[in-house]
């Protein structure tokens, strides 16, 4: 049932939440918008095209300590990192919410990642439906939508003098401020998006593993980690120990299949050395391996990689090229 909250209702509600929880929201930093914990509600940026990084960093931080090794003279004790605070992740668009739902699949699959699971259960997602979309957005082609409520606890949709408030889950209902009137007005229709036909991409992928398309596409690729780090569904990570500052910590950090050491084994053998093999791995993981394992494509159409790739490797173009190469192959 849709309720209505004026801008002031929303501010008061967020203020009350801020007293006993951490609130992570989009904040303007220089010319960028980033998700970060806020100390005052005024810091929240409500109108932004898209954040630089996706909100996945709250559940899988760029760097975190998994556990620290304490004890001396042989008596070793492993102290796991604890998650102590409840949190609100405010202002994420439906595509980012779906990104988090996709990351749940590997991380919560038994044996689940305890840190990730704890953060997920103690964080409520308050989504913000998209009023306008960017030219690089293609969420509707990837199974999401500008007003898709399915992966958030509460969905807000902006109307003239306030927001439609839709509690989606029990967790959302429990958080709602009391005394909001029912919203009877018209629900704004979501903006239109250009479709990216992707029906055949999985079957095309199966055939084109050794196709020269990948080496040609990778010619201009710089092999930096931008596309993986801004992406809401890239979750590869690296783990190593740190023995500085007097104690040993096992640190987990973001990693990307484009970086040089990603698949390099200690003996020097590396199954993916050429540019094409590395770039191919990014698309195969998203459009073949993840779907085979979890029955869903690991892309939510947020367009961040399209926006930030220094050499414009456009994932929508790759999806259509693959299907064209497939048609040319089967046609000829």
């Amino acid at each position: 049932m849709n309720l209505f909250a004026s801008k002031d209702d929303l501010i008061r509600w967020l203020d009350s939440l801020l007293q006993e929880r951490t609130v992570i929201a989009p904040v303007r930093v220089q010319e960028q918008t980033v998700f970060q914990p806020i100390s005052k509600v005024e810091e929240i940026a409500f109108d932004f095209d898209n954040t630089t990084l996706s909100p996945k960093g709250w559940f899988l931080p760029p760097t975190e300590t998994l556990f620290s090794v304490q004890g001396d003279d042989g008596q070793v004790e492993l102290v796991p990192t604890l998650v102590e605070q409840d949190a609100i992740l405010f202002g994420l668009h439906p595509c980012d919410a779906k990104g988090i739902a996709l990351m749940d699949k590997p991380f919560l699959q038994e044996p689940g990642d305890a840190l990730y699971r704890e953060r997920r259960s103690r964080t409520a997602l308050v989504g913000l439906a998209c009023g306008q979309v960017q030219p690089e957005c293609f969420c509707t082609s990837m199974g999401s939508a500008p007003d898709d409520p399915s992966n958030v606890d509460i969905l807000l949709t902006e109307v003239e003098d306030g927001y439609i408030v839709q509690a989606v889950t029990e967790k959302g209902k429990a958080l709602l401020p009391k005394g909001l009137a029912e919203y009877k007005g018209k629900v704004p229709t979501p903006p239109e998006l250009q479709a990216v036909p992707a029906k055949e991409v999985i079957s095309a992928m199966r055939e084109l593993f050794n196709d020269p398309y990948w080496e040609q596409l990778a010619d201009r690729c710089l092999h930096c980690n931008i596309c993986a780090y801004v992406c809401p569904t890239c979750y590869c990570f690296d783990m190593r120990d740190y023995a500085d500052k007097g104690k040993v910590e096992r640190v987990r950090s973001w990693e990307s299949c484009q970086s040089p050491g990603f698949s390099l084994t200690a003996g020097g053998y590396d199954p993916r050395t050429t540019k094409g093999e590395r770039l191919r791995q990014r698309f195969y993981h998203k459009f073949l391996y993840f779907p085979e394992q979890f029955q869903d494509v690991a892309c939510v159409g947020c367009g961040r990689c399209v926006r930030d790739c220094p050499v414009n490797i456009d994932i929508r173009e790759v999806i259509s090229n693959l299907q064209q190469v497939m048609e040319a192959k089967s046609g000829s």
Binding site: V69, G74, D113, A114, F237, D238, G267, P271, Y289
Partner: protein, 277 residues
């Protein structure tokens, strides 16, 4: 109670560390928590992630057999930061063990078959439990041919166990080295050439290979020439692994995660995606 997070290893103590070859040490490790030690069940082919606290973690095949009294054994070749730290552990030191991970050699499917085991250098280590398991139930299997190659004679792994392998009925051990030395009287040849020379028959046979990628590539070709089909050739893939839990996607070869769907694969499963067989 196991570790709350699957990333936290079980604590274990190093019992003995014996030098097998100039750069390979056999670590015998005992899990500290008795309940975990009792429940830590594994099969030949499975691996564990060993933690050298302060350096990091790396995957190692478990080369001992379950229910043996001497704890878990791992053959560690000094090749990087973690292996160096593991080799520098003294008996009594603490390390971390996570696992057992991955699938295993389906030995029950190989009953009644001729088995050809081909190991190169440290690649022989994960095959040792397979051999010992077969020797434990020798009558279930037909002919057993073991081809073990290495760069030089001292690099041959598990030499103390060669006599027991050779004395077992219907079992043949063929050793070879890339470069011999004064005392070496055996064969000096590359493993793929030995396979071609001995030309094992593919009927009712299973070939199990493990070794450096270059050896696997040429041995696979040799076996195919001898008539072995891809589902008769089994290998255990050495890939970069980090979490062992199918999450960090480092060991993604084709649509498989080596840490979960492998490391043991038939060639049929991975030939399409094996970029560099």
């Amino acid at each position: 109670m196991g570790p709350e997070s699957p990333f936290i290893p079980y604590l274990a103590t190093l019992k003995t560390a014996t030098q097998l070859t100039p750069d390979i040490k056999l670590l015998s490790v005992e899990l500290e928590d008795p309940d975990i030690r009792a429940s830590f069940d594994y099969k030949p082919g499975q691996f564990a992630l060993l933690s050298a606290f302060g350096e990091g973690e790396a995957p190692f095949g478990i080369v001992s057999l379950p229910l043996r009294k001497d704890g878990l054994e791992f053959a560690v070749r000094r090749i990087g930061t973690v292996t160096r730290a593991l080799q520098e552990l003294e008996p009594g030191d603490t390390l971390g063990v996570r696992g057992p991970f991955g699938n295993y050699f389906p030995l029950e499917d190989y009953v009644g078959k001729n088995i050809i085991i081909i190991g190169g250098g440290i690649g022989m280590a994960p095959l040792r439990p397979v051999i010992n398991k077969i020797l434990e139930r020798r009558d279930n299997y037909e002919e057993l041919l073991i081809i073990n190659g290495a760069r030089t004679p001292q690099d041959l792994v598990f030499q103390p166990e060669f006599p027991s392998w050779m004395e077992t009925p219907r079992t043949r051990l063929e050793l070879t080295v890339d470069k011999g030395d004064k005392q070496w009287k055996g064969r000096v040849a590359l493993v793929p050439d030995v396979v071609k020379e001995l030309a094992p028959s593919p009927n009712n046979a299973i070939a199990i290979i493990c070794g450096p990628p270059i050896m696997i590539r040429f041995t696979l070709a040799g076996l195919r020439n001898l008539g072995f089909k891809d589902n008769q050739i089994v290998t255990t893939l050495e890939a970069k692994m980090k979490c062992g839990l199918g999450k960090c996607a480092r060991c993604n070869i084709g649509e498989n995660y080596v840490c979960q769907d492998g490391p043991v694969f038939t060639l049929e499963q991975i030939s399409q995606f094996l970029e560099q067989p």
